[in-house]
Symmetry: C2
C-alpha cells in the first residue's frame, strides 16, 4: 500500500460538536491543536462557519459552531503546520461572514450539501475560492442518490473551481465494495479533481472504508480522535495515524490527546458503535431516530422494538429522510 | 458479493468466557442457543473441552470451560439446526474425555495450536475425526509466523484428515491486505481444504476482515454477539447476520439476544475497542499486557505510559510473546 500522499482532516471539534453541542473549552481545543500538529495531522476542522442568524438553537451552542476570526486568533495565537478548516452548510452560511483568506486563520473551507443543492454549493465554493481558500465539496448521503442525479452533478462539478470532492457516507451504510464502486465512478467522471472521504462507524467499517479509499487514490481522509462524532462516530484518527504506510505521522501525541482529553470526555458523552446506530446503518437511513432513542433513559436499549418500528410500515414513525 | 456458502460459528460463550471466566448461567446459554438457532446461525461454540486436570485455576471457572456431555444434554435437551462446537488446545485436552460423536451433543471439535504444534494438533484431529466429528485446525498468531514455518506446516496439513483450516488473527494486527495475502497463500498450498477465519477487533477491522474472507471463498466465519471476546473482542455476529449477501440469516433474533443478554452483560464486563488493545494490535503482540493494564483501576487509562513501556526497550517489561 502506498498512501503517503494522503492527508488527514481531523474533525473532532466540528463533528464531535454534534455530540456535545460544541461544548469544548478553549484549553481543550488548544491542546487538541497542539497534539494534532505534533502528530503531523494535516488539517484540523475547528468548527462550523455557519451563521447564527440562519440557524435555530444558536444561543446555546459553544463557539465552535459559529467560528469567529477574532476569537480564533486568540485560541491559536501561533499556528503550526496543521492547517485549519471550517465546514459550512448550503443555506446556513452567510458568505459576508467569510473574510479573505489573507485576513483569516482558516486555510480550507468545505461546503456540505445534499445532491440537489450541488449547484448552490458550487456557487459558494466559487466565492470562497476567489477569496483565496482551498475548497472542498462534500456531497452527503450518497447511498441515497440515484445514478442519473450523480451524473448530472458531475457535469457541474467538473467545470467548477473546487479543489477536492468528498464522498460522504452519512448513514454509515456503505461497505468496502460500495466505496470502491463510488471512488471508481468519481475518478472516471471527475478525472481533474482530487477526492476525499468521510465515513461513519455504524457498521464498524469507518476505518476499513477509509483504508480502501487511501489505497484507491483518495487524498483527503476525514477522521476524529477516538472516533468522536455524531451517533456512531467517525474513522478514529489514532488508527489512521498508526496504520497508514509510508506516512509521516506520529501516534504518541494522539495517545496524549486520548488520555488527557478524549477518554475522560467519553465518560460523559456518548458516541460510537451502539446497536441502534447499527440498525439505522444497516437500514441505510439517517441516525436521527436512533439518536432520539439513545436520548431516552427508559427506552435506549430497547433495540427490538426500535427495529420493529423502523421495519414495520404501519408503525413507521420517526422515520424521515 | 456471493457468500451464501459461508457459515457462521458463534463463539460468544467460548471466547466470551475468556472475559468473565465462563460465568454464564444455564438460562443465558439456553436463550443464546435458541436465538442463534432462530437466526439461522450455523454453529454455536458452547465452550472449551479441555481437561481440568491439565489447567490451573480450573476450580473457579464456569462449566463452559470444561464441557461435560451429561451436563450439555440437560442444557440443550432439544437441538435445532444450529450445530454445537467445542474448542480444545494442544496440551490441555485429554483425548479420553471425548466420546464418540454418536454419544455426544457436539458436532464439531476445533483444535487450536501455535505453528510449532501443528503436528500434535493434527494427531488430535485424527482422533476426533475417527470418532465421527467434523474437525478444524486453528493456527493462532499467524502474524508472528515466518514463511518457511508455514510452508512446512502446509505439508503436514494437506495430507491430514482435517476438514477446515483456520486463519487466526490472534493479536488483531492484520488488515484487509494481510488477510487477502494469507487466504491466497492458504488456498494455493491447501487446495483440498476448506478455510475459516477468526478475527479480533483491536484495530476495528474484525468485521471488515471477515467480509474480505467471505468474498475470497473462506467458508467458516467466527463471530460473537456484540463482539464479546477476550480483550478487543471478535467480529460481531449481528453485523455478519445482517450484511452477508444472499444468506439465510435473520437479524431480529440476534437483536433479542443483544437486548436481553449482551447489552446488560456489557454493563458489567468489559471488552471491545479500547486504546490499550489498539496499542498491542498495532504493535502486533499478545494483548496480555493491555489486559493487565485494564485490570488496574488506577492505571487503566494511562495509555501514554503504557505505550512508552512497550516501545522503549530498556523498560520493556510485561512483553512476552
Amino acid at each position: 500500500m502506498k498512501s503517503n500522499q494522503c492527508k488527514i482532516v481531523d474533525c473532532t471539534i466540528r463533528d464531535g460538536g454534534l455530540v456535545n453541542n460544541w461544548d469544548f473549552s478553549i484549553e481543550f481545543v488548544q491542546q487538541l491543536y497542539a497534539g494534532l500538529n505534533e502528530a503531523g495531522v494535516d488539517y484540523m476542522e475547528i468548527g462550523y462557519k455557519n451563521s447564527p442568524k440562519l440557524l435555530k438553537g444558536a444561543d446555546s451552542a459553544g463557539p465552535w459552531r459559529f467560528l469567529n476570526d477574532d476569537f480564533l486568533r486568540k485560541v491559536i495565537p501561533q499556528k503550526g503546520n496543521t492547517k485549519l478548516s471550517a465546514l459550512v452548510d448550503v443555506g446556513r452560511v452567510d458568505e459576508n461572514d467569510i473574510l479573505p483568506r489573507s485576513e483569516s486563520m482558516l486555510d480550507l473551507i468545505r461546503v456540505a450539501c445534499y445532491i440537489k443543492d450541488v449547484d448552490k454549493a458550487l456557487q459558494l465554493v466559487q466565492v470562497f475560492h476567489d477569496r483565496g481558500y482551498e475548497t472542498t465539496l462534500n456531497i452527503m448521503a450518497l447511498s441515497n442518490v440515484m445514478d442519473h442525479e450523480l451524473l448530472e452533478a458531475f457535469e457541474l462539478i467538473k467545470d467548477s473551481v473546487v479543489d477536492v470532492v468528498y464522498i460522504v457516507d452519512s448513514y454509515g451504510s456503505l461497505d468496502n465494495n460500495d466505496f470502491r464502486h463510488l471512488i471508481d465512478k468519481f475518478k472516471t467522471h471527475l478525472p481533474n479533481k482530487r477526492l476525499g472521504v468521510h465515513t461513519h462507524n455504524n457498521m464498524q467499517l469507518a476505518f476499513a472504508n477509509t483504508l480502501v479509499a487511501a489505497e484507491n487514490g483518495v487524498e483527503l481522509l476525514d477522521a476524529s480522535v477516538y472516533g468522536m462524532g455524531r451517533a456512531a462516530g467517525n474513522c478514529p484518527t489514532e488508527l489512521l495515524v498508526t496504520h497508514l504506510k509510508n506516512s509521516k505521522y506520529h501516534l504518541r501525541p494522539i495517545l496524549e490527546i486520548l488520555e488527557n482529553l478524549m477518554i475522560p470526555l467519553r465518560e460523559k458523552e456518548e458516541w460510537g458503535y451502539l446497536i441502534p446506530y447499527m440498525i439505522t446503518g444497516t437500514l441505510d437511513e439517517h441516525p436521527r431516530s436512533a439518536m432520539a432513542l439513545r436520548a431516552s433513559e427508559e427506552d435506549k436499549d430497547k433495540v427490538v422494538d426500535f427495529y420493529d418500528k423502523l421495519t414495520t410500515p404501519e408503525v413507521n414513525f420517526n422515520k424521515k429522510k
